[in-house]
């Protein structure tokens, strides 16, 4: 039992170690700064510039968060503060279902619904021409995919705010909305930040759904209607060909390591915040 426990707690470090070992090969030939900030991606010439992919990842993820945060926080507030018990009991399984849908299905839905929507309605409205396979499509699909995690974590955080705090505010004559706005959200802020960080790291590493709708053009996007090529999609698409070109596999594993490190630091931060809140409650 002890062995299994220690093994499980070390898996994440094992993954990092293996990726670092393979990924460091390319670092001996090229400085890290060149890999991160060069935009020339010509693996067959030995040029591995991750810049367009990193920028693409951030565009898609940031857009998803911008779309998801207001919706998620407002629904979490509604569910935690206003909704009756029966509404909550209906919503919880629905949110769970949303979390259970496989990413490929989201991707397919994006191809069938979101891509045509952007191509035929949203882009002409903004005066842009696009195939629909764009940062915006990736962001919209991702936003829906992070709904469940942000909603469920932040709802729990709101509900963890002690009832006395609310009563004190109401007793001072504040309305319900004022109480929510000035008291509950302030008290819940660290937890909400943690929920958002968790959503961010989920979106950051999502591969298949994004790959299917984002266009996969290795060029830094300049508008939301441009296609992009996020890092996870790069890894997934290039695995077939990587064995034939020297250093290609090393570059891709370095990309995986970058993903891992970003997600790692984000989730550690979020979990530490959440653990503090939990400890404060006891």
């Amino acid at each position: 039992m002890l062995t299994a426990t220690i093994f499980s707690s070390l898996i994440v470090f094992l993954i990092a170690f293996v990726l670092l070992q393979k990924g460091s090969l390319i670092l001996t030939t090229k400085p890290l700064s060149e890999l991160l900030f060069s935009s020339s991606w010509y693996p067959w010439r030995g040029e591995f510039g991750f810049y367009p992919f990193i920028v693409g990842t951030f565009w898609v993820t940031a857009l998803a968060m911008i779309l998801a945060i207001p919706v998620c926080l407002l629904s979490a507030i509604y569910l935690a503060e206003y909704a009756s018990k029966s509404v909550r009991e209906i919503m919880k399984p629905l949110v769970d279902l949303l979390a259970g849908i496989p990413s490929v299905v989201y991707g397919l839905w994006g191809v069938l619904a979101i891509v045509p929507l952007i191509r035929d309605y949203l882009a002409p409205l903004a005066g842009a021409a696009t195939t629909g396979y764009s940062v915006l499509a990736g962001g919209m699909v991702l936003a829906i995919m992070v709904f469940p995690i942000i909603i469920s974590v932040s709802e729990e955080v709101f509900r963890a705010v002690p009832y006395e705090v609310r009563e004190a505010s109401l007793a001072l004559g504040a309305t319900r909305w004022q109480t929510v706005k000035h008291v509950v959200t302030r008290k819940a802020l660290p937890g909400v930040v943690a929920a958002v960080i968790l959503g961010f790291s989920r979106a950051f590493g999502e591969t298949m759904a994004v790959l299917m709708v984002v266009g996969n053009v290795p060029k830094a996007p300049s508008s939301v209607f441009d296609p992009a090529y996020p890092l996870p999609a790069l890894i997934a698409n290039s695995y077939g060909e990587m064995m034939s070109i020297p250093l290609y596999d090393s570059a891709l594993l370095l990309a995986a390591l970058i993903l891992l490190l970003v997600v790692f630091s984000f989730s550690v931060a979020a979990r530490v915040i959440l653990m503090r809140i939990e400890r404060g409650l006891r």
Binding site: L74, P102, S103, I144, G205, V263
Partner: protein, 271 residues
């Protein structure tokens, strides 16, 4: 606020509705009962039985493997390690692991398989997916084990049973519904993930005969069929998505139902 809640519910319904509306017309019995025949990806006849069976094998194997590792870990965390530093470190580490993107597991699994000289196979996929669902399973079991009332534990000790007996005869029995839910959740997550099996399980038009054969999986079947330029084949991708979605959603609903049903027979836990 009510509006944003509607957006959430609306997007769920939109996803399900669009996939079903587009997929069901293309669904046929031969898709469920045949493996791809020659020229299947050009629009000729055949089905995706290879992917359905492959996915079930893969997720089943991975869930079983993860279960064998998870249960001792969860029991250890709850019963032996208590609030020790190791326990909280393991919990944090598993939570972080839970957030690691599946593509990273895929890359990791592939690298390890290269070291060991295993080709893309059912085995490689099972190991990778088992690692991928492990954190979810341990943490879910950990939560339900924590709910077991301590009086039960004390009663068991008072009757003279030792720690191991208490853990397996009392704790596990009490937490059974929750453990079952954890298993179903992990199965659903394992069957739906594409990025981790992309390099580790490979793809094949045949149903795998041994652990060392490559195995097709439903998510990849959807991806590959969608990637062809033929509308007939793309239609089959929609139909495959319906199959996958129904499988996953019914698992999710079944686990909810089972939990409710089984908790009735458990002492002292209110739902």
């Amino acid at each position: 606020m009510l509006g944003s809640t509607f957006i959430v519910v609306g997007s769920l319904l939109a996803v399900i509705a669009v996939v079903i509306l587009r997929g069901v017309p293309a669904l046929s019995l031969s898709m469920l009962t045949q493996t791809p025949k020659g020229g299947y990806y050009l629009g000729k006849e055949g089905g995706i039985l290879n992917a359905i069976v492959g996915s079930l094998y893969l997720a089943g194997g991975a869930t079983a493997l993860a279960f064998v590792i998870s249960l001792p870990i969860a029991l250890y965390l709850e019963e032996y390690a208590g609030k020790s530093r190791l326990a909280s470190f393991t919990r944090l580490s598993l939570d972080v692991l839970w957030g690691v993107p599946s593509i990273v597991y895929g890359a990791f699994g592939f690298t390890i398989m290269l070291y060991l000289g295993i080709r893309a196979s059912l085995m490689g996929g099972i190991i990778t997916v088992a690692l991928f669902v492990l954190p979810l399973m341990v943490r879910a079991m950990d939560e339900v084990l924590r709910m077991v009332p301590s009086e039960l534990r004390e009663a068991s000790y008072a009757l003279g049973s030792n720690k191991l007996e208490t853990v397996f005869k009392i704790m596990v029995k009490q937490a059974l519904p929750g453990i079952l839910t954890a298993v179903l959740l992990a199965f659903g997550r394992g069957i739906g993930d594409a990025a981790s099996v992309l390099f580790t399980a490979g793809y094949s038009d045949y149903i795998p005969n041994s652990f060392f054969d490559p195995a097709a999986t439903l998510p990849l079947a959807i991806l590959f069929q969608l990637g062809t330029p033929f509308p007939e084949v793309q239609m089959r991708a929609y139909a495959s998505a319906v199959i996958l979605m129904i499988l996953v959603l019914s698992l999710s609903i079944a686990s909810r139902f089972l939990t409710k049903r089984l908790t009735k027979y458990v002492v002292g836990v209110r739902t």
